[in-house]
Protein backbone atom coordinates (compact mmCIF):
# COMPACT_ATOMS: atom_id res chain seq x y z
CA UNK A 1 0.00 0.00 0.00
CA UNK A 2 1.35 3.50 -0.73
CA UNK A 3 1.38 6.32 1.79
CA UNK A 4 -1.76 7.95 0.41
CA UNK A 5 -3.69 4.69 0.89
CA UNK A 6 -2.27 4.26 4.40
CA UNK A 7 -3.37 7.78 5.33
CA UNK A 8 -6.87 6.98 4.12
CA UNK A 9 -6.88 3.69 6.00
CA UNK A 10 -5.74 5.54 9.19
CA UNK A 11 -4.50 2.38 10.98
CA UNK A 12 -3.99 -1.35 10.57
CA UNK A 13 -3.32 -4.42 12.74
CA UNK A 14 -0.48 -6.93 12.49
CA UNK A 15 0.38 -10.31 13.93
CA UNK A 16 1.75 -10.32 17.45
CA UNK A 17 1.64 -13.42 19.67
CA UNK A 18 -0.50 -12.92 22.76
CA UNK A 19 -1.98 -9.56 21.94
CA UNK A 20 -2.41 -6.89 19.31
CA UNK A 21 0.00 -4.71 17.35
CA UNK A 22 -1.17 -1.74 15.35
CA UNK A 23 0.30 1.01 13.24
CA UNK A 24 -1.49 4.33 12.91
CA UNK A 25 -0.67 6.87 10.22
CA UNK A 26 -0.98 10.62 9.81
CA UNK A 27 0.30 13.58 7.85
CA UNK A 28 1.72 14.85 11.11
CA UNK A 29 2.14 13.76 14.72
CA UNK A 30 -1.30 15.05 15.70
CA UNK A 31 -3.09 13.01 13.04
CA UNK A 32 -1.03 9.89 13.81
CA UNK A 33 -1.78 10.20 17.56
CA UNK A 34 -5.50 10.66 16.79
CA UNK A 35 -5.54 7.58 14.61
CA UNK A 36 -3.69 5.63 17.31
CA UNK A 37 -6.54 6.48 19.70
CA UNK A 38 -9.03 5.22 17.10
CA UNK A 39 -7.02 2.04 16.50
CA UNK A 40 -7.00 1.34 20.24
CA UNK A 41 -10.75 1.92 20.41
CA UNK A 42 -11.32 -0.29 17.35
CA UNK A 43 -9.91 -3.24 19.30
CA UNK A 44 -12.82 -2.83 21.70
CA UNK A 45 -15.80 -1.85 19.58
CA UNK A 46 -17.05 -0.73 16.14
CA UNK A 47 -15.92 2.89 16.36
CA UNK A 48 -17.99 3.95 13.30
CA UNK A 49 -21.12 3.10 15.30
CA UNK A 50 -20.24 5.15 18.41
CA UNK A 51 -22.21 8.41 18.68
CA UNK A 52 -20.55 11.69 19.75
CA UNK A 53 -22.97 12.31 22.67
CA UNK A 54 -20.55 12.99 25.51
CA UNK A 55 -17.51 15.23 25.76
CA UNK A 56 -14.24 14.71 27.66
CA UNK A 57 -11.21 17.00 27.88
CA UNK A 58 -7.74 15.59 28.43
CA UNK A 59 -4.45 17.22 29.33
CA UNK A 60 -1.37 15.00 29.33
CA UNK A 61 2.20 16.04 30.13
CA UNK A 62 5.18 13.74 29.58
CA UNK A 63 8.93 13.98 29.13
CA UNK A 64 9.11 12.99 25.45
CA UNK A 65 6.93 12.00 22.49
CA UNK A 66 7.04 8.26 23.21
CA UNK A 67 5.89 8.78 26.81
CA UNK A 68 3.25 11.21 25.55
CA UNK A 69 1.85 8.58 23.19
CA UNK A 70 1.87 6.01 26.00
CA UNK A 71 0.21 8.38 28.48
CA UNK A 72 -2.39 9.59 25.96
CA UNK A 73 -3.47 6.06 25.07
CA UNK A 74 -3.52 5.07 28.76
CA UNK A 75 -5.98 7.94 29.32
CA UNK A 76 -8.24 6.46 26.61
CA UNK A 77 -8.20 3.14 28.50
CA UNK A 78 -8.83 4.94 31.79
CA UNK A 79 -11.93 6.63 30.35
CA UNK A 80 -13.31 3.26 29.29
CA UNK A 81 -12.82 1.56 32.66
CA UNK A 82 -13.55 4.46 34.99
CA UNK A 83 -16.26 6.27 33.01
CA UNK A 84 -17.57 3.66 30.54
CA UNK A 85 -16.64 6.09 27.73
CA UNK A 86 -16.05 4.89 24.14
CA UNK A 87 -14.38 7.29 21.70
CA UNK A 88 -16.30 8.51 18.64
CA UNK A 89 -14.50 11.63 17.40
CA UNK A 90 -11.58 13.82 18.38
CA UNK A 91 -12.86 17.39 18.17
CA UNK A 92 -9.47 18.90 18.92
CA UNK A 93 -5.93 17.65 19.54
CA UNK A 94 -2.91 19.83 20.24
CA UNK A 95 0.65 18.61 20.85
CA UNK A 96 3.61 20.77 21.79
CA UNK A 97 7.12 19.62 22.73
CA UNK A 98 10.09 21.48 24.16
CA UNK A 99 13.23 20.13 25.79
CA UNK A 100 12.18 17.23 28.13
CA UNK A 101 8.55 18.28 28.18
CA UNK A 102 5.65 17.46 25.90
CA UNK A 103 2.05 18.50 26.34
CA UNK A 104 -1.11 17.17 24.74
CA UNK A 105 -4.57 18.68 25.02
CA UNK A 106 -7.58 16.93 23.55
CA UNK A 107 -11.32 17.29 23.33
CA UNK A 108 -12.90 13.88 22.83
CA UNK A 109 -16.46 13.06 21.85
CA UNK A 110 -17.95 9.67 22.58
CA UNK A 111 -20.72 7.71 24.25
CA UNK A 112 -21.68 5.29 27.04
CA UNK A 113 -20.01 1.93 26.34
CA UNK A 114 -23.16 0.07 27.55
CA UNK A 115 -24.82 1.00 24.26
CA UNK A 116 -22.34 -0.97 22.14
CA UNK A 117 -20.95 -4.46 21.61
CA UNK A 118 -17.62 -4.91 23.39
CA UNK A 119 -15.19 -7.22 21.57
CA UNK A 120 -12.24 -7.07 23.91
CA UNK A 121 -11.02 -5.11 26.91
CA UNK A 122 -7.56 -3.55 26.70
CA UNK A 123 -5.64 -3.87 29.96
CA UNK A 124 -2.79 -1.46 29.34
CA UNK A 125 -0.42 0.10 26.83
CA UNK A 126 3.11 -1.32 26.64
CA UNK A 127 6.38 0.14 25.40
CA UNK A 128 6.94 -3.15 23.62
CA UNK A 129 7.96 -2.46 19.99
CA UNK A 130 6.67 1.12 20.30
CA UNK A 131 7.82 3.29 17.39
CA UNK A 132 7.32 6.85 16.21
CA UNK A 133 8.68 7.22 12.68
CA UNK A 134 8.63 10.68 11.13
CA UNK A 135 9.04 11.30 7.41
CA UNK A 136 8.12 14.51 5.60
CA UNK A 137 4.32 14.60 5.45
CA UNK A 138 3.97 11.05 6.86
CA UNK A 139 4.16 9.88 10.47
CA UNK A 140 3.77 6.28 11.65
CA UNK A 141 3.21 5.26 15.26
CA UNK A 142 3.36 1.59 16.29
CA UNK A 143 1.91 0.34 19.58
CA UNK A 144 1.42 -3.04 21.28
CA UNK A 145 -1.42 -2.89 23.81
CA UNK A 146 -1.92 -5.66 26.37
CA UNK A 147 -5.26 -7.47 26.05
Amino acid sequence: MDKKELLEKRFEFFDHTADALFRAYGRDLIEAFSNAAFALSAIMTDIELVSPNRKRRLVVESKNEESLLYDFLEEIIYLIDAENFFLSKIAELKISCQAFKCRLEAELLGDDASNYTVYAIVKAITYNEMLIIKEPGFVTVQVVPDL
Binding site: F13, F14, D15, H16, T17, A18, D19, A20, L21, M44, E74, I77, Y78, I80, D81, A82, N84, A113, S114, Y116, T117, V118, Y119, A120, I121, K123, A124, I125, T126, Y127, N128, V144, D146, L147
Partner: protein, 478 residues
Protein backbone atom coordinates in the same frame (compact mmCIF):
# COMPACT_ATOMS: atom_id res chain seq x y z
CA UNK B 1 17.15 -17.55 18.24
CA UNK B 2 19.64 -19.33 15.96
CA UNK B 3 22.58 -18.70 18.34
CA UNK B 4 20.81 -19.91 21.52
CA UNK B 5 22.00 -23.41 22.41
CA UNK B 6 19.56 -25.52 24.40
CA UNK B 7 20.78 -28.80 25.88
CA UNK B 8 18.31 -31.64 26.39
CA UNK B 9 18.41 -32.97 29.97
CA UNK B 10 15.65 -35.54 29.58
CA UNK B 11 12.29 -35.94 27.80
CA UNK B 12 10.76 -33.09 29.78
CA UNK B 13 13.50 -30.55 30.43
CA UNK B 14 16.15 -28.52 28.65
CA UNK B 15 18.94 -26.22 29.79
CA UNK B 16 20.59 -23.06 28.50
CA UNK B 17 23.93 -23.09 30.31
CA UNK B 18 25.18 -20.05 32.19
CA UNK B 19 27.44 -17.94 30.01
CA UNK B 20 28.55 -14.35 29.40
CA UNK B 21 26.52 -12.03 31.64
CA UNK B 22 23.91 -14.59 32.75
CA UNK B 23 23.77 -14.95 36.55
CA UNK B 24 22.10 -18.36 36.42
CA UNK B 25 21.25 -20.98 33.78
CA UNK B 26 17.82 -21.18 32.15
CA UNK B 27 15.85 -24.36 32.87
CA UNK B 28 12.98 -25.10 30.49
CA UNK B 29 10.31 -27.67 31.30
CA UNK B 30 9.19 -28.85 27.87
CA UNK B 31 8.80 -31.86 25.61
CA UNK B 32 10.39 -31.96 22.16
CA UNK B 33 7.07 -30.78 20.67
CA UNK B 34 6.67 -27.88 23.10
CA UNK B 35 10.30 -26.82 22.47
CA UNK B 36 9.46 -26.49 18.77
CA UNK B 37 6.67 -24.04 19.74
CA UNK B 38 8.99 -22.10 22.05
CA UNK B 39 11.61 -21.77 19.34
CA UNK B 40 9.07 -19.97 17.11
CA UNK B 41 9.01 -16.84 19.26
CA UNK B 42 11.45 -14.97 21.53
CA UNK B 43 10.49 -16.54 24.85
CA UNK B 44 13.78 -18.41 25.39
CA UNK B 45 15.71 -15.20 24.65
CA UNK B 46 13.49 -13.54 27.28
CA UNK B 47 14.30 -16.34 29.74
CA UNK B 48 17.98 -15.58 29.15
CA UNK B 49 17.42 -11.84 29.71
CA UNK B 50 15.73 -12.63 33.04
CA UNK B 51 18.73 -14.78 34.05
CA UNK B 52 20.85 -11.60 33.96
CA UNK B 53 18.75 -9.71 36.54
CA UNK B 54 20.39 -8.96 39.90
CA UNK B 55 19.93 -11.41 42.77
CA UNK B 56 18.21 -14.13 40.73
CA UNK B 57 18.63 -17.52 42.43
CA UNK B 58 18.90 -21.05 41.09
CA UNK B 59 17.55 -20.87 37.56
CA UNK B 60 15.54 -18.61 35.28
CA UNK B 61 12.66 -21.04 34.85
CA UNK B 62 10.31 -21.59 31.93
CA UNK B 63 7.19 -23.66 32.26
CA UNK B 64 5.87 -25.95 29.49
CA UNK B 65 3.35 -23.33 28.33
CA UNK B 66 5.95 -20.53 28.01
CA UNK B 67 5.53 -18.02 25.20
CA UNK B 68 6.72 -14.52 24.39
CA UNK B 69 5.59 -11.73 26.72
CA UNK B 70 6.71 -8.19 27.58
CA UNK B 71 10.24 -8.37 28.94
CA UNK B 72 9.54 -11.58 30.83
CA UNK B 73 7.98 -14.49 28.98
CA UNK B 74 4.53 -15.64 30.01
CA UNK B 75 5.02 -19.00 31.72
CA UNK B 76 8.13 -17.97 33.63
CA UNK B 77 9.34 -18.19 37.23
CA UNK B 78 12.17 -16.15 38.72
CA UNK B 79 13.19 -16.07 42.40
CA UNK B 80 15.03 -12.87 43.41
CA UNK B 81 16.89 -12.52 46.68
CA UNK B 82 14.92 -10.27 49.06
CA UNK B 83 18.10 -8.40 50.06
CA UNK B 84 20.40 -8.34 47.04
CA UNK B 85 17.87 -8.87 44.29
CA UNK B 86 15.01 -6.93 42.79
CA UNK B 87 11.31 -6.86 42.17
CA UNK B 88 9.94 -6.37 38.67
CA UNK B 89 6.30 -5.69 37.73
CA UNK B 90 6.90 -7.30 34.32
CA UNK B 91 7.71 -10.56 36.11
CA UNK B 92 4.17 -10.58 37.50
CA UNK B 93 2.21 -9.12 34.61
CA UNK B 94 -0.39 -6.42 34.09
CA UNK B 95 -3.19 -8.62 35.36
CA UNK B 96 -2.00 -8.99 38.95
CA UNK B 97 -3.41 -12.18 40.50
CA UNK B 98 -5.00 -13.41 37.37
CA UNK B 99 -5.94 -16.86 38.59
CA UNK B 100 -8.35 -19.75 38.67
CA UNK B 101 -11.00 -20.95 41.13
CA UNK B 102 -12.66 -24.37 41.03
CA UNK B 103 -15.99 -25.23 42.62
CA UNK B 104 -17.46 -28.75 42.82
CA UNK B 105 -21.19 -29.41 42.82
CA UNK B 106 -23.61 -32.17 43.80
CA UNK B 107 -24.96 -32.26 40.25
CA UNK B 108 -24.20 -34.68 37.43
CA UNK B 109 -23.77 -33.71 33.80
CA UNK B 110 -27.13 -35.22 32.85
CA UNK B 111 -28.78 -32.88 35.38
CA UNK B 112 -27.20 -29.85 33.72
CA UNK B 113 -27.40 -30.48 29.95
CA UNK B 114 -31.19 -30.07 29.73
CA UNK B 115 -31.00 -26.62 31.38
CA UNK B 116 -27.63 -25.41 30.11
CA UNK B 117 -28.97 -22.49 28.04
CA UNK B 118 -31.07 -21.19 30.94
CA UNK B 119 -28.08 -21.57 33.26
CA UNK B 120 -25.75 -19.70 30.89
CA UNK B 121 -28.25 -16.86 30.52
CA UNK B 122 -28.64 -16.60 34.29
CA UNK B 123 -24.86 -16.63 34.79
CA UNK B 124 -24.35 -14.01 32.07
CA UNK B 125 -26.72 -11.66 33.91
CA UNK B 126 -25.06 -12.28 37.28
CA UNK B 127 -21.44 -12.31 36.10
CA UNK B 128 -21.07 -9.58 33.47
CA UNK B 129 -17.88 -8.91 31.46
CA UNK B 130 -17.59 -5.43 33.03
CA UNK B 131 -17.20 -3.01 30.14
CA UNK B 132 -20.46 -2.23 28.47
CA UNK B 133 -22.33 -4.66 30.65
CA UNK B 134 -21.53 -3.29 34.08
CA UNK B 135 -20.88 -4.84 37.46
CA UNK B 136 -23.71 -5.27 39.96
CA UNK B 137 -21.42 -3.70 42.61
CA UNK B 138 -19.99 -0.21 42.87
CA UNK B 139 -17.71 0.62 45.79
CA UNK B 140 -16.84 3.83 47.61
CA UNK B 141 -13.16 4.65 48.22
CA UNK B 142 -13.40 3.41 51.84
CA UNK B 143 -14.99 0.12 50.74
CA UNK B 144 -12.33 -0.33 48.06
CA UNK B 145 -9.62 0.24 50.67
CA UNK B 146 -11.18 -2.44 52.88
CA UNK B 147 -11.28 -4.90 49.99
CA UNK B 148 -7.65 -4.17 49.09
CA UNK B 149 -6.56 -4.52 52.71
CA UNK B 150 -8.54 -7.61 53.72
CA UNK B 151 -9.61 -9.35 50.53
CA UNK B 152 -12.85 -11.37 50.45
CA UNK B 153 -13.29 -11.45 54.24
CA UNK B 154 -15.01 -8.14 53.57
CA UNK B 155 -17.60 -9.82 51.37
CA UNK B 156 -18.20 -12.73 53.77
CA UNK B 157 -19.16 -10.15 56.43
CA UNK B 158 -21.80 -8.98 53.96
CA UNK B 159 -23.12 -12.52 53.50
CA UNK B 160 -21.61 -12.89 50.04
CA UNK B 161 -19.85 -16.24 50.21
CA UNK B 162 -18.71 -18.31 53.19
CA UNK B 163 -15.73 -18.73 55.52
CA UNK B 164 -15.03 -22.07 53.85
CA UNK B 165 -14.51 -20.16 50.59
CA UNK B 166 -11.80 -18.14 52.38
CA UNK B 167 -10.07 -21.17 53.91
CA UNK B 168 -9.97 -22.92 50.55
CA UNK B 169 -8.12 -20.13 48.81
CA UNK B 170 -4.40 -19.52 48.27
CA UNK B 171 -3.18 -17.29 51.11
CA UNK B 172 -6.73 -17.38 52.58
CA UNK B 173 -7.64 -14.82 49.94
CA UNK B 174 -5.40 -12.01 51.11
CA UNK B 175 -1.76 -11.01 51.41
CA UNK B 176 -0.89 -9.28 54.68
CA UNK B 177 1.54 -6.82 53.13
CA UNK B 178 -1.23 -4.93 51.28
CA UNK B 179 -1.25 -1.13 51.58
CA UNK B 180 -4.17 0.51 49.74
CA UNK B 181 -2.49 3.90 50.12
CA UNK B 182 0.16 2.71 47.64
CA UNK B 183 -2.53 2.24 44.98
CA UNK B 184 -3.23 5.35 42.88
CA UNK B 185 -6.59 7.08 42.68
CA UNK B 186 -6.60 6.23 38.98
CA UNK B 187 -6.34 2.52 39.75
CA UNK B 188 -9.16 2.79 42.29
CA UNK B 189 -11.36 4.63 39.78
CA UNK B 190 -10.77 1.93 37.19
CA UNK B 191 -11.57 -0.87 39.60
CA UNK B 192 -14.40 0.58 41.66
CA UNK B 193 -17.19 -0.68 39.37
CA UNK B 194 -15.53 -3.91 38.33
CA UNK B 195 -15.92 -6.27 41.27
CA UNK B 196 -17.82 -9.35 40.21
CA UNK B 197 -16.89 -9.01 36.52
CA UNK B 198 -14.94 -11.38 34.29
CA UNK B 199 -13.16 -9.09 31.86
CA UNK B 200 -12.56 -10.42 28.34
CA UNK B 201 -9.89 -12.11 26.23
CA UNK B 202 -9.08 -15.53 27.67
CA UNK B 203 -11.10 -14.95 30.86
CA UNK B 204 -14.13 -17.16 31.31
CA UNK B 205 -16.53 -18.98 33.58
CA UNK B 206 -16.90 -22.58 32.48
CA UNK B 207 -19.35 -25.26 33.58
CA UNK B 208 -17.57 -28.60 33.22
CA UNK B 209 -17.90 -32.26 34.10
CA UNK B 210 -15.24 -34.61 35.45
CA UNK B 211 -14.18 -36.63 32.41
CA UNK B 212 -11.42 -38.79 33.91
CA UNK B 213 -9.97 -39.29 37.39
CA UNK B 214 -6.26 -40.17 37.41
CA UNK B 215 -5.77 -40.33 41.18
CA UNK B 216 -8.97 -41.25 43.00
CA UNK B 217 -7.56 -40.77 46.54
CA UNK B 218 -6.40 -37.20 45.90
CA UNK B 219 -9.48 -36.41 43.80
CA UNK B 220 -11.69 -37.45 46.71
CA UNK B 221 -9.72 -35.24 49.10
CA UNK B 222 -10.38 -32.36 46.67
CA UNK B 223 -14.13 -33.10 46.62
CA UNK B 224 -14.04 -34.65 43.14
CA UNK B 225 -16.11 -37.77 43.70
CA UNK B 226 -16.91 -39.35 40.36
CA UNK B 227 -16.67 -39.03 36.61
CA UNK B 228 -19.69 -37.08 35.37
CA UNK B 229 -19.74 -34.77 38.41
CA UNK B 230 -20.35 -31.14 37.47
CA UNK B 231 -17.80 -28.50 38.47
CA UNK B 232 -17.29 -24.80 37.69
CA UNK B 233 -13.98 -23.18 36.72
CA UNK B 234 -13.56 -19.39 36.97
CA UNK B 235 -10.62 -17.62 35.32
CA UNK B 236 -10.13 -13.87 35.81
CA UNK B 237 -8.01 -11.32 37.65
CA UNK B 238 -7.76 -7.86 39.16
CA UNK B 239 -9.35 -6.03 36.23
CA UNK B 240 -8.56 -2.37 35.66
CA UNK B 241 -7.30 -1.84 39.21
CA UNK B 242 -4.46 -4.34 38.90
CA UNK B 243 -3.62 -3.30 35.34
CA UNK B 244 -3.25 0.32 36.47
CA UNK B 245 -1.06 -0.64 39.45
CA UNK B 246 1.33 -2.39 37.07
CA UNK B 247 1.36 0.57 34.63
CA UNK B 248 1.86 3.09 37.45
CA UNK B 249 4.85 1.26 38.93
CA UNK B 250 6.49 0.44 35.58
CA UNK B 251 6.44 4.17 34.90
CA UNK B 252 7.64 5.06 38.41
CA UNK B 253 10.56 2.63 38.17
CA UNK B 254 11.57 3.94 34.74
CA UNK B 255 11.53 7.50 36.09
CA UNK B 256 13.46 6.66 39.28
CA UNK B 257 16.04 4.33 37.73
CA UNK B 258 16.87 5.61 34.21
CA UNK B 259 20.37 4.15 34.53
CA UNK B 260 18.82 0.67 34.94
CA UNK B 261 16.56 1.23 31.90
CA UNK B 262 19.61 2.08 29.76
CA UNK B 263 21.24 -1.27 30.54
CA UNK B 264 18.18 -3.41 29.80
CA UNK B 265 17.55 -5.14 26.44
CA UNK B 266 13.80 -4.48 26.90
CA UNK B 267 12.19 -1.64 28.87
CA UNK B 268 9.59 -4.04 30.31
CA UNK B 269 12.36 -5.77 32.32
CA UNK B 270 12.61 -2.66 34.52
CA UNK B 271 13.00 -3.47 38.18
CA UNK B 272 13.53 -1.78 41.53
CA UNK B 273 16.33 -3.00 43.81
CA UNK B 274 14.75 -5.16 46.51
CA UNK B 275 15.65 -2.87 49.42
CA UNK B 276 14.53 0.35 47.71
CA UNK B 277 11.42 2.20 48.86
CA UNK B 278 9.90 1.82 45.41
CA UNK B 279 10.29 -1.96 45.52
CA UNK B 280 8.50 -2.08 48.87
CA UNK B 281 5.79 0.30 47.65
CA UNK B 282 5.18 -1.76 44.51
CA UNK B 283 5.00 -4.99 46.51
CA UNK B 284 2.48 -3.43 48.91
CA UNK B 285 0.38 -2.19 45.97
CA UNK B 286 0.66 -5.56 44.24
CA UNK B 287 -0.63 -7.25 47.41
CA UNK B 288 -3.57 -4.82 47.49
CA UNK B 289 -4.41 -5.58 43.84
CA UNK B 290 -4.05 -9.31 44.53
CA UNK B 291 -6.57 -9.02 47.37
CA UNK B 292 -8.94 -7.20 45.00
CA UNK B 293 -8.64 -10.08 42.50
CA UNK B 294 -9.36 -12.71 45.15
CA UNK B 295 -12.41 -10.70 46.21
CA UNK B 296 -13.46 -10.59 42.55
CA UNK B 297 -13.28 -14.37 42.13
CA UNK B 298 -14.93 -14.86 45.50
CA UNK B 299 -17.91 -12.69 44.47
CA UNK B 300 -18.12 -14.44 41.10
CA UNK B 301 -18.14 -17.78 42.97
CA UNK B 302 -21.01 -16.50 45.11
CA UNK B 303 -22.93 -15.19 42.08
CA UNK B 304 -22.41 -18.60 40.46
CA UNK B 305 -23.95 -20.29 43.48
CA UNK B 306 -26.98 -17.99 43.30
CA UNK B 307 -27.37 -18.70 39.58
CA UNK B 308 -27.25 -22.46 40.10
CA UNK B 309 -29.79 -22.26 42.93
CA UNK B 310 -32.16 -20.22 40.74
CA UNK B 311 -32.08 -22.86 37.99
CA UNK B 312 -31.74 -26.11 39.97
CA UNK B 313 -33.32 -25.25 43.32
CA UNK B 314 -32.05 -24.67 46.86
CA UNK B 315 -30.67 -28.22 47.20
CA UNK B 316 -27.74 -27.54 44.89
CA UNK B 317 -24.38 -27.16 46.64
CA UNK B 318 -21.27 -25.55 45.19
CA UNK B 319 -18.08 -25.93 47.27
CA UNK B 320 -14.85 -24.05 46.61
CA UNK B 321 -12.05 -26.57 46.12
CA UNK B 322 -9.28 -23.94 45.93
CA UNK B 323 -8.24 -20.74 44.21
CA UNK B 324 -4.76 -20.26 42.68
CA UNK B 325 -2.97 -17.14 41.49
CA UNK B 326 -0.84 -17.37 38.34
CA UNK B 327 0.43 -13.78 38.03
CA UNK B 328 1.96 -12.82 41.36
CA UNK B 329 5.10 -12.38 43.46
CA UNK B 330 5.33 -14.01 46.85
CA UNK B 331 7.89 -13.72 49.65
CA UNK B 332 8.93 -17.33 50.24
CA UNK B 333 11.82 -19.29 51.75
CA UNK B 334 13.46 -21.85 49.45
CA UNK B 335 16.57 -23.98 49.62
CA UNK B 336 19.20 -23.03 47.04
CA UNK B 337 22.60 -24.78 47.01
CA UNK B 338 22.01 -26.18 50.48
CA UNK B 339 21.04 -22.83 52.05
CA UNK B 340 17.65 -21.37 52.89
CA UNK B 341 17.11 -18.06 51.12
CA UNK B 342 14.37 -15.44 51.36
CA UNK B 343 13.21 -14.70 47.86
CA UNK B 344 10.53 -12.83 45.91
CA UNK B 345 9.24 -15.65 43.73
CA UNK B 346 7.88 -14.01 40.57
CA UNK B 347 5.30 -16.26 38.87
CA UNK B 348 4.07 -14.82 35.58
CA UNK B 349 1.71 -17.28 33.91
CA UNK B 350 2.83 -19.92 36.39
CA UNK B 351 0.99 -21.56 39.30
CA UNK B 352 2.26 -22.30 42.77
CA UNK B 353 2.57 -26.08 43.30
CA UNK B 354 3.27 -26.69 46.99
CA UNK B 355 3.38 -30.30 48.14
CA UNK B 356 2.30 -32.17 51.30
CA UNK B 357 3.16 -30.85 54.78
CA UNK B 358 3.61 -27.27 53.63
CA UNK B 359 2.28 -24.89 56.31
CA UNK B 360 1.19 -22.39 53.61
CA UNK B 361 -1.59 -24.65 52.32
CA UNK B 362 -4.94 -25.44 54.05
CA UNK B 363 -5.02 -28.16 56.73
CA UNK B 364 -7.31 -30.31 54.62
CA UNK B 365 -4.62 -30.51 51.90
CA UNK B 366 -1.64 -31.16 54.18
CA UNK B 367 -1.61 -34.88 53.33
CA UNK B 368 -2.09 -34.44 49.58
CA UNK B 369 -0.45 -31.16 48.57
CA UNK B 370 -2.27 -28.15 47.14
CA UNK B 371 -4.74 -28.33 44.23
CA UNK B 372 -3.60 -26.77 40.94
CA UNK B 373 -5.92 -25.87 38.04
CA UNK B 374 -4.72 -25.63 34.47
CA UNK B 375 -7.44 -24.45 32.08
CA UNK B 376 -7.25 -25.42 28.43
CA UNK B 377 -8.35 -23.20 25.59
CA UNK B 378 -12.04 -22.84 24.73
CA UNK B 379 -13.69 -26.17 24.05
CA UNK B 380 -10.74 -28.27 25.20
CA UNK B 381 -9.99 -30.07 28.46
CA UNK B 382 -8.91 -28.43 31.69
CA UNK B 383 -6.95 -30.26 34.35
CA UNK B 384 -6.71 -30.60 38.10
CA UNK B 385 -3.22 -31.37 39.36
CA UNK B 386 -1.61 -31.60 42.80
CA UNK B 387 1.54 -29.90 44.07
CA UNK B 388 4.60 -31.92 45.07
CA UNK B 389 7.69 -31.82 47.29
CA UNK B 390 9.70 -32.32 44.11
CA UNK B 391 8.40 -28.99 42.76
CA UNK B 392 10.02 -27.21 45.72
CA UNK B 393 13.43 -28.58 44.61
CA UNK B 394 12.96 -28.23 40.86
CA UNK B 395 10.90 -25.11 40.23
CA UNK B 396 10.54 -23.01 43.40
CA UNK B 397 7.28 -24.84 43.95
CA UNK B 398 5.77 -23.91 40.60
CA UNK B 399 4.20 -25.35 37.49
CA UNK B 400 2.38 -24.21 34.33
CA UNK B 401 -0.84 -22.18 34.21
CA UNK B 402 -2.57 -22.90 30.90
CA UNK B 403 -2.15 -23.74 27.26
CA UNK B 404 -0.21 -20.68 26.06
CA UNK B 405 -1.01 -18.80 22.86
CA UNK B 406 0.46 -19.85 19.51
CA UNK B 407 -1.38 -17.46 17.23
CA UNK B 408 -2.06 -13.73 17.49
CA UNK B 409 -5.62 -12.50 18.02
CA UNK B 410 -5.37 -10.70 14.69
CA UNK B 411 -4.49 -13.91 12.84
CA UNK B 412 -7.11 -15.93 14.76
CA UNK B 413 -9.77 -13.41 13.69
CA UNK B 414 -8.73 -13.80 10.06
CA UNK B 415 -8.58 -17.59 10.17
CA UNK B 416 -11.61 -18.48 12.28
CA UNK B 417 -15.22 -17.31 12.25
CA UNK B 418 -16.87 -16.92 15.64
CA UNK B 419 -20.27 -18.23 14.55
CA UNK B 420 -18.73 -21.28 12.84
CA UNK B 421 -16.74 -22.10 15.96
CA UNK B 422 -19.80 -21.65 18.14
CA UNK B 423 -21.82 -23.99 15.90
CA UNK B 424 -19.03 -26.61 15.87
CA UNK B 425 -18.80 -26.49 19.64
CA UNK B 426 -22.57 -26.89 19.96
CA UNK B 427 -22.44 -29.96 17.75
CA UNK B 428 -20.05 -31.35 20.38
CA UNK B 429 -22.47 -30.32 23.15
CA UNK B 430 -20.40 -27.35 24.29
CA UNK B 431 -22.45 -24.15 24.58
CA UNK B 432 -20.86 -20.70 24.46
CA UNK B 433 -22.38 -17.41 25.56
CA UNK B 434 -20.07 -14.54 24.68
CA UNK B 435 -20.26 -10.77 24.41
CA UNK B 436 -19.31 -11.02 20.70
CA UNK B 437 -18.45 -13.48 17.92
CA UNK B 438 -15.02 -11.88 17.66
CA UNK B 439 -14.45 -12.77 21.30
CA UNK B 440 -15.02 -16.39 20.26
CA UNK B 441 -12.81 -16.41 17.13
CA UNK B 442 -9.87 -14.88 19.04
CA UNK B 443 -10.11 -17.74 21.51
CA UNK B 444 -10.21 -20.51 18.89
CA UNK B 445 -8.58 -23.69 20.24
CA UNK B 446 -6.09 -23.79 17.34
CA UNK B 447 -4.73 -20.42 18.49
CA UNK B 448 -3.34 -22.18 21.57
CA UNK B 449 -0.80 -24.88 22.37
CA UNK B 450 -1.87 -28.39 23.26
CA UNK B 451 -2.80 -28.30 26.96
CA UNK B 452 -2.65 -32.12 27.15
CA UNK B 453 1.04 -31.92 26.28
CA UNK B 454 1.62 -29.10 28.81
CA UNK B 455 0.15 -31.07 31.72
CA UNK B 456 1.93 -34.26 30.62
CA UNK B 457 5.27 -32.44 30.97
CA UNK B 458 4.24 -31.08 34.38
CA UNK B 459 3.35 -34.64 35.46
CA UNK B 460 6.46 -36.30 34.00
CA UNK B 461 8.73 -33.62 35.48
CA UNK B 462 7.05 -34.22 38.85
CA UNK B 463 6.25 -30.52 39.42
CA UNK B 464 2.48 -30.98 39.34
CA UNK B 465 0.87 -34.45 39.18
CA UNK B 466 -2.33 -35.25 37.31
CA UNK B 467 -5.47 -35.73 39.41
CA UNK B 468 -8.41 -35.28 37.02
CA UNK B 469 -9.39 -34.14 33.55
CA UNK B 470 -12.40 -31.85 33.10
CA UNK B 471 -14.42 -31.23 29.95
CA UNK B 472 -16.66 -28.24 29.15
CA UNK B 473 -20.43 -28.20 28.98
CA UNK B 474 -20.97 -24.44 28.77
CA UNK B 475 -18.87 -21.29 28.91
CA UNK B 476 -19.45 -17.59 29.57
CA UNK B 477 -16.96 -15.23 27.94
CA UNK B 478 -16.53 -11.48 28.00
Amino acid sequence: MSDIITKKINDFSYLVEKSKDMNVPVKIFASKELMKDMEKDRCIEQGINVSKLPGIKGFSLMMPDAHQGYGFSIGGVAAMDCETGCISPGGIGFDINCGVRLLTSNLEKNDVYPKIIELLNELYNNVPPGVGKKSLFKLTDDELDEVMKRGPAWTVERKLGTNKDLENCESNGYLKGAKPEKVSQKAKNRGRSQLGTLGSGNHFLEIQYVDKIFDSGIAKAFGIKNEGQVVVLIHCGSRGLGHQVCSDYLRAMEDEFPEIVKELPEKNLIYAPAKSKLAKDYFAAMCAAANFAWTNRHIIGHQTRLSFKKIFGKGVKLNTVYDVAHNIAKKEIHEVDGENVNVYVHRKGATRAFGPNNPEIPKKYQKTGQPIFIPGSMGTSSYVLVGTQHAMKESFGSTAHGAGRLMSRHRANLEFKGQTLKDQLEKNKIYVKAASMRGISEEAPNAYKDVDEVVKVSHDAGIGKLVARLKPIGVIKG
